[in-house]
Symmetry: C2
Subunit: 116 residues, 2 copies
């Protein structure tokens, strides 16, 4: 499922996770990534997620959170911590992680009749 | 070209652009997107970009900038402004744009021998 995250009023936080996947055990990776999406959505302060992946294995996942405390709690989640360790050991050749405070946000939707 | 942006010391700014492409005139869209990447990279305060697109047309592009002033100047660029108008009229069924201040950043690279 790829779609837009909700548009809460700023300020809130974004975790920008950019990763290069090695392509190891793709089915297991996909199910684990899906599990992490589900688990993240259950955490206090979770606001939404957006994710896109190239066929090359390069991907960006941006998750949105109400506060730095919510991000720290998700980071400390035991299952998430174990999966991060597997990510470094098995799945990713590299990643970048940035924590950023969303200060402004806006969106656009084409009128239904305009969508070609 | 999909790869990681550099890792300058925070704080700096991220423009998180998440869009659903309609699939109209894909070749022209791709060349215009490439032109915008090149033009952005020439702007003062540009720090880098990361981009990933699904086959469905859902994509995320995160560009990084030294300041809000640099982002405002890029937004005011005439060629960029015309392309944004075309984006709304022709290419995108919807998008979300978030401007966020990067407060923390770190990365990981597997040791060369580990990359499977």
């Amino acid at each position: 499922m790829t779609s837009f995250a909700p548009r809460p009023p700023p300020p809130y936080y974004a975790v920008i996770f950019t990763a290069q996947n090695r392509g190891t055990s793709p089915a297991e990776y996909a199910s684990t990534a899906q599990r992490m999406m589900t688990l993240a959505a259950e955490q206090p302060g979770y606001l939404g997620v957006e994710s896109a992946h190239e066929a090359s294995g390069f991907g960006i996942t941006v998750s949105y959170w109400s506060s730095l405390e919510a991000i720290a709690a998700w980071r400390a989640n035991v299952e998430h911590t174990l999966v991060r360790e597997r990510g470094r050991a098995e799945w990713y050749s590299g990643y970048e992680l940035r924590i950023a405070k969303v200060e402004r946000a806006y969106g656009f939707r084409a009128a239904p009749g305009e969508v070609g």
